[in-house]
C-alpha cells in the first residue's frame, strides 16, 4: 500500500514565499495577475468586453478585521478548473525526466492564489465561467490546513471571479487603503483595464489613464512635465531630464529618467520593467545596454521572454535587437543634447562622465561627438579633451598615478603636458583616438622613456661623474634602486625618481614583512621570490643641477653616502611613497649627521 505525505499547506506557503517572493505584499500581484489573465482570456471570444477590476474594503462585523474583496469580470472558472488551478502547487507534467528539467529551467514557478494565505487565514472564491451561458456560480473555500470545499453557490453572479480575504491578525498594514493603492500601482499601474477601490460609498480609480506614454499631450513641454511628475511620484527623485524609449522589436515602450546624481554600482541597472503591463521586476539587468547607468527606466515589454528569475530576459535575437534599438534611443538623446543644448550637456557630463566614457569607448560616432567635452586630469591641471588637443601636437598619457606624479614634476620644463590615464576608461579612450580621428599621434609615456630622452653627459662630464655613479649604485643597490645620470630641465630639480608597475606592490610587501610573523613572512618571501633581484626603481641624477655637480666632487665617502641617501629619501617623499622602517632610519640618522657636519665645518649657518 502506498501512502501520500501529509503536507502542511501554511508551512509550505511560508517556505515558498520566503524563498520565491520578497514578502506578503506579493498577494496583490498574484491577485492582479489572475484577474488580468482572466480578462484577457475572456476578451478572445468577446473582444468588446470592457474589462475591469474592482477592489472593495470593509470591516468584518464579527471580528472587526478588515476584509478585501477582489473582483474581475474575466473568464471565470468551471468546477473542474477550480480543482486544477486553485488547489495545485508545483504542477508536473508527464514528460520524461530530462525534458521536465529543461522546462523547469525555462519555466516559472508560482503559487498564485495560495499566496493570499500569507495575509489571510480564509480564502473564499466565487466564480462563474463565461464559457457557457448556463454555467453555475461556484463557491470555493480554502483553509491553510490544506483542506478546501467546493459547492454551488446560492448567489448567482455575472461571469467572473470574486476573491474574499479576511485580514490575519498582524497583517493589517497590507489592508490599509494607502498600502493597497501603492501596491496596485506598483504591480499593475500600467494595466489598460481600470482598477477601482471602493470603501463604503467612496469609489476611486487607482490607475487613471494607465501608462503615461499612452496619453496625448498638448506639446512637448507638457509631456516632459507629466513624465517628470510621474518619475517623482514613483521614485521620489527630481530627475535631471527624461525622454521616451521605444522599440518595435520586443514591443517595448517607456520612459528613461536621467538621474540627478551619479549612481553607485549597486544602484545601477535598477530599471522597473513591466511585462504585458504587469510588473516583472525592478532589477532587470539585460534589457538596456550596460553603459546606460545614467538613467532609471520604466518600460513595458510585450514580446520578450523572461527567465524564471524574473530578473532578466532570455538572450535571444529579439532581445539583442531590442537592446540595440533602446541603445540607439538613448544615444540619440545624448547626440541631440550635444547638438542643441551644449550647456545642458556640460552639466550632464559633470554628473555622468563615467557613463559617457563607457559609451564612447565602443561607439566611434558618439566618441567624435563628445570627446572634446570630457574632462581629464593633466599635468597642467584639469582640462577638457578639446582644450588639450588644441594645445598639443601629440597626445601623451601616463598609465598610472605614480608615473603621472613623477612626470608631472618635469613635464612643464620639458614643454610636455600629459594626461593622467589611471582612471576608469581613460586609457581605452585615449588609445582609440588615433583610430577614430587619426590626425595626431597618441602615445603612452612613462618615466623610463622620458629619462631615455634626456641629454647624455659629455665625455668629460662622464669621466667626472663616473666614480660617483659607481658609488651611488653601491649605496642604493640594497634599496632595489638603480642609478642614472643625465642632464634635464628644470635645472632646479636634482633628481627624477622613476618606478615600474611592480614597484608599489614590492614596497607594500616589504612594509608588511617589517611587521609580519614567521608564517606570513615566509609566504611573502615566496610570493616575491621570482622578482626579488630586480630593480623596480631608478634614481636619475640631474647633472644640470648645481647641487648634484657639487656632490659629484665630494671625496669624503661618509659625506657622499649621506648625500646620496638623503636625495633618495627626498625623492621617495616627493613621490608620496611611505618610508620603510629602514628608510626612516636613514632619514633620522641622516638629518642628525648632516647637522653635525654643518656644525663641524665651522662655517656657521645661513638662515
Amino acid at each position: 500500500m502506498d501512502y501520500k505525505f501529509q503536507v502542511n499547506l501554511q508551512g509550505i506557503i511560508d517556505l515558498l514565499s520566503n524563498h520565491l517572493y520578497s514578502g506578503p505584499q506579493v498577494y496583490v500581484r498574484e491577485l492582479l495577475q489572475n484577474g488580468v489573465d482572466a480578462i484577457r482570456a475572456r476578451l478572445e471570444p468577446e473582444p468588446k468586453l470592457a474589462g475591469a477590476i474592482h477592489l472593495s474594503l470593509t470591516t468584518a462585523e464579527e471580528t472587526g478585521a478588515p476584509v478585501l474583496v477582489f473582483e474581475d469580470n474575466g473568464i471565470g472558472l468551471t468546477e473542474a478548473e477550480i480543482h486544477q488551478f486553485l488547489a495545485t502547487i508545483g504542477q508536473t507534467s508527464k514528460r520524461d525526466e530530462l525534458n521536465r528539467q529543461r522546462s523547469e529551467f525555462i519555466g516559472q514557478f508560482g503559487i498564485g492564489l495560495l499566496s493570499c494565505f500569507l495575509v489571510s487565514d480564509e480564502i473564499v472564491v466565487h466564480t462563474r465561467s463565461a464559457k457557457a451561458a448556463d454555467s453555475p456560480t461556484m463557491e470555493w473555500q480554502g483553509r491553510p490546513d490544506g483542506t478546501y470545499s467546493v459547492r454551488q453557490s446560492e448567489e448567482v453572479l455575472p461571469p467572473g471571479t470574486r476573491v474574499r480575504l479576511v485580514c490575519k491578525p498582524g497583517f493589517e498594514t497590507y489592508f490599509k487603503p494607502a498600502k493597497i493603492r501603492e501596491l496596485v500601482n506598483f504591480f499593475g499601474g500600467l494595466l489598460p483595464y481600470p482598477i477601482f477601490l471602493s470603501q463604503g460609498t467612496k469609489r476611486v480609480q487607482l490607475n487613471p489613464g494607465g501608462a503615461p506614454w499612452t496619453h496625448t499631450y498638448f506639446n512637448d513641454a507638457e509631456r516632459r512635465e507629466a513624465y517628470l511628475a510621474y518619475g517623482k511620484e514613483n521614485f521620489e527623485i527630481d530627475f535631471f531630464d527624461c525622454f521616451e524609449l521605444k522599440s518595435e522589436v520586443g514591443k517595448v515602450e517607456g520612459i528613461a529618467f536621467v538621474l540627478p546624481f551619479s549612481p553607485s554600482p549597486s544602484q545601477r541597472g535598477a530599471h522597473r520593467v513591466y511585462l504585458k503591463h504587469m510588473l516583472l521586476s525592478e532589477t532587470v539587468d539585460n534589457l538596456l545596454p550596460d553603459w546606460a547607468f545614467f538613467v532609471k527606466c520604466v518600460v513595458n515589454a510585450n514580446e520578450l521572454r523572461p527567465t524564471a528569475s524574473r530578473e532578466s530576459f532570455y538572450e535571444d535575437e529579439t532581445l539583442e535587437l531590442t537592446r540595440e534599438a533602446l541603445g540607439q534611443t538613448l544615444r540619440g538623446y545624448l547626440v541631440k543634447m550635444a547638438r542643441e543644448n551644449p550647456k545642458r550637456l556640460q552639466k550632464f557630463i559633470q554628473l555622468h562622465h563615467l557613463s559617457i566614457k563607457a559609451l564612447a569607448v565602443y561607439d566611434d560616432e558618439f566618441y567624435r561627438l563628445v570627446i572634446d567635452w570630457l574632462p581629464f586630469e593633466t599635468s597642467l591641471g584639469e582640462m577638457t579633451f578639446g582644450d588639450y588637443r588644441q594645445r598639443n601636437a601629440v597626445i601623451r598619457y601616463t598609465p598610472n598615478i605614480d608615473q603621472f606624479r613623477q612626470i608631472a614634476q618635469v613635464a612643464a620644463a620639458q614643454s610636455l603636458c600629459v594626461i593622467n590615464a589611471a582612471y576608469t576608461y581613460n586609457m581605452q579612450l585615449l588609445e582609440r583616438y588615433a583610430e577614430v580621428f587619426g590626425d595626431k599621434p597618441v602615445g603612452m609615456i612613462d618615466t623610463e622613456m622620458l629619462v631615455q630622452s634626456f641629454a647624455e653627459l659629455t665625455i668629460d662630464q662622464q669621466e667626472q661623474a663616473d666614480g660617483f655613479r659607481t658609488f651611488a649604485e653601491e649605496v642604493l643597490g640594497p634599496f632595489h634602486c638603480g642609478v642614472e645620470i643625465k642632464i634635464f630641465q628644470p635645472a632646479e630639480l636634482p633628481t627624477l625618481f622613476s618606478t615600474d608597475q611592480d614597484y608599489g606592490f614590492q614596497r607594500s610587501v616589504s612594509t608588511a614583512k617589517d611587521v609580519a610573523d614567521a608564517v606570513w613572512g615566509a609566504v611573502l618571501d615566496d610570493l616575491t621570490s621570482d622578482t626579488e633581484d630586480a630593480f623596480n626603481a631608478q634614481l636619475c641624477f640631474n647633472y644640470g643641477n648645481t647641487l648634484v655637480r657639487k656632490i659629484c666632487t665630494i671625496e669624503d665617502r661618509t659625506v657622499l653616502k649621506l648625500a646620496i641617501q638623503m636625495l633618495y629619501v627626498q625623492a621617495l617623499l616627493l613621490g608620496h611613497h611611505p618610508l620603510s622602517s629602514r628608510e626612516m632610519t636613514l632619514l633620522n640618522s641622516g638629518l642628525l649627521n648632516l647637522i653635525e657636519i654643518g656644525v663641524d665645518s665651522g662655517k656657521g649657518w645661513v638662515v
Binding site: 524563498h19 520565491l20 525526466e97 530530462l98 528539467q101 529543461r102 523547469e104 529551467f105 525555462i106 551619479s262 553607485s264 554600482p265 539587468d285 539585460n286 550596460d290 527567465t307 524564471a308 528569475s309 524574473r310 530578473e311 532578466s312 532570455y314 538572450e315 535571444d316 598610472n400 598615478i401 589611471a422 582612471y423 576608469t424 608597475q501 608599489g504 606592490f505 607594500s508 610587501v509 612594509t511 608588511a512 614583512k513 611587521v515 609580519a516 610573523d517 608564517v519 606570513w520 613572512g521 615566509a522 609566504v523 611573502l524 618571501d525 615566496d526 610570493l527 621570490s529 621570482d530 617623499l573 608620496h576 611613497h577 611611505p578 618610508l579
Partner: protein
C-alpha cells in the same frame, strides 16, 4: 584639505567604483600610502582592510596578501582596529587563493593553513569554511584522496557566522558535480542560482560559466547561449573572472563560434599579460591554445587581431600566423603547468591539459548536431 580628510576622500571615491576597476585598487593604494606616510595606523588599517576586499574581488589577489599580512600582524599587536571575526573572514580568502601562485612553496602554504586553523579554533569557530577553502586546491596539492577527506570534513562541520553564504556553498556543489556527475545533475543543482533565487557577490557570475560545458553536453544550445551572454556581460569588466572567461572562450570554441572566441581572446588578453601569475592564467592560456588549435584546422591564412603592445609577439601590422600564436600559447601553458607541477610534486596540471584537449570529441559532436535538422522541440 587635511591628510586625514584626503585619505577618507580617496577611500570614498574607491568605494564608488566597481570590483575589477583597476582605479579602485589604485585609489586604496594611494590612501594606504598617505596613511603610512602620516603614520596614521588606524586609517592605514582601514584602507588595507578595504584593499584586501577590492584586490581579492578585483583580480589582483597578490596585493590582498601583502595587505592581509600587515593587518594580521597589527591585530596580533593587540590593536583594536577591527574585530577578529573580520580578519578570520578574510583569512578564508587567503587559504583559498594563495595556492594559486606557483611561487609559494608547499611548506609555506601548509604552515599558513595550520595557522588559519589554529586561529579559527582559538576563536571557537567551526573549521567548515577552511576545509572547503583547502579542498578547492587539494587535488592539485595533495591528490584526490585528500580532497575527498577535506570535503567530508567540510560537510560534517557545523555552519556558523564564518561559513560561506549558502549561495557560495551551492556553487561549490555545482563545481563538484561538474567534475564528477552527469551534466543533467549539474544543471539541476545550479538551478536556484540560474533562476536568481540565490545570488551573492560572485553569483550567478561563476555558475553561468560553470554550467556552459554541461549545457553543451546536453545539447541545450539555446540555454547555453543565454548563459554565455548573461554571464559574459557580468564578468567582462572584472579580471577576477579570468577562469570564467576561459570557460566562455572554450564554450565558443566548442560551439564553433570561433570569431567571437577570438574577439574575447583579443579583448581580455591584457588580463594575463604583465600581471602576476596564478592558476586561472593557466586555464586562460590553455583555453586560447585549444581555440587556436581549432582555428588552425580550417584556417591557413593569417589572422588580423588587435593585440596589446606589450604582448611578446605584438606586431604593428596586426597580422598573426595562427601557428605562431598557437606555439606561444602552448609553450606558456606548458611552462606554467611545469611550475605548478614542480611545486606540487605531481602531474596534475599536465592531466588538466590532456582533459581539455579531450573536448575535441565534444566539438565534433556539436558540429554534427548543428549540421542535422533539429529533431523538433
Amino acid at each position: 584639505m587635511t591628510t586625514t580628510n584626503e585619505i577618507h576622500d580617496l577611500m570614498y571615491q574607491a568605494h564608488q567604483l566597481e570590483d575589477g576597476d583597476p582605479a579602485k585598487i589604485a585609489l586604496f593604494e594611494q590612501a594606504i600610502n598617505l596613511a603610512d606616510s602620516s603614520q596614521n595606523d588606524r586609517l592605514a588599517f582601514a584602507a588595507r582592510n578595504s584593499l584586501i576586499d577590492a584586490a581579492t574581488f578585483g583580480g589582483q589577489f597578490h596585493k590582498a596578501m601583502a595587505a592581509f599580512a600587515w593587518c594580521l600582524a597589527q591585530s596580533d599587536k593587540q590593536q583594536t582596529f577591527t574585530s577578529l571575526w573580520n580578519l578570520l573572514w578574510k583569512y578564508k580568502w587567503m587559504v583559498m587563493n594563495a595556492p594559486r601562485y606557483p611561487q609559494i612553496e608547499k611548506p609555506q602554504l601548509e604552515k599558513m593553513f595550520t595557522d588559519a586553523q589554529e586561529r579559527f579554533q582559538a576563536y571557537g569557530a567551526s573549521l567548515r569554511p577552511l576545509y572547503r577553502a583547502m579542498a578547492d586546491n587539494a587535488e592539485s596539492l595533495w591528490g584526490e584522496a585528500k580532497r575527498r577527506e577535506l570535503l567530508e570534513l567540510y560537510l560534517s562541520a557545523r555552519r556558523d557566522s564564518l561559513a560561506d553564504c549558502s549561495t557560495c556553498e551551492l556553487a561549490y556543489e555545482v563545481g563538484e558535480a561538474e567534475r564528477f556527475d552527469d551534466p543533467a545533475t549539474v544543471i539541476r543543482k545550479a538551478q536556484p542560482i540560474l533562476e536568481g533565487r540565490l545570488t551573492c557577490r560572485s553569483q550567478p557570475h561563476g555558475v553561468l560559466a560553470q554550467v556552459l560545458l554541461s549545457l553543451v553536453r546536453l545539447g541545450w544550445l539555446t540555454e547555453a547561449e543565454t548563459c554565455h551572454q548573461r554571464g559574459y556581460r557580468l564578468i567582462r569588466t572584472n579580471p577576477n573572472y579570468l577562469w570564467e572567461m576561459a570557460s566562455h572562450i572554450t564554450y565558443l570554441t566548442l560551439t564553433g563560434n570561433l570569431s567571437r572566441a577570438l574577439k574575447l581572446f583579443e579583448r581580455h588578453l591584457g588580463w594575463v599579460i604583465n600581471t602576476k601569475e596564478r592558476a586561472a592564467h593557466f586555464y586562460f592560456l590553455l583555453a586560447v591554445w585549444f581555440l587556436l588549435e581549432q582555428v588552425g584546422e580550417t584556417r591557413k591564412r593569417p589572422l588580423k587581431l588587435t593585440l596589446l603592445a606589450t604582448f611578446p609577439l605584438f606586431r604593428e601590422d596586426r597580422t598573426y600566423q595562427v601557428a605562431d600564436l598557437k606555439a606561444w600559447f602552448q609553450k606558456e601553458t606548458e611552462t606554467l603547468a611545469g611550475r605548478f607541477n614542480r611545486r606540487n610534486g605531481n602531474d596534475y596540471f599536465d592531466r588538466q591539459i590532456r582533459e581539455h584537449f579531450d573536448l575535441k570529441e565534444l566539438a565534433e559532436r556539436v558540429r554534427l548536431q548543428a549540421s542535422q535538422p533539429p529533431a523538433g522541440d
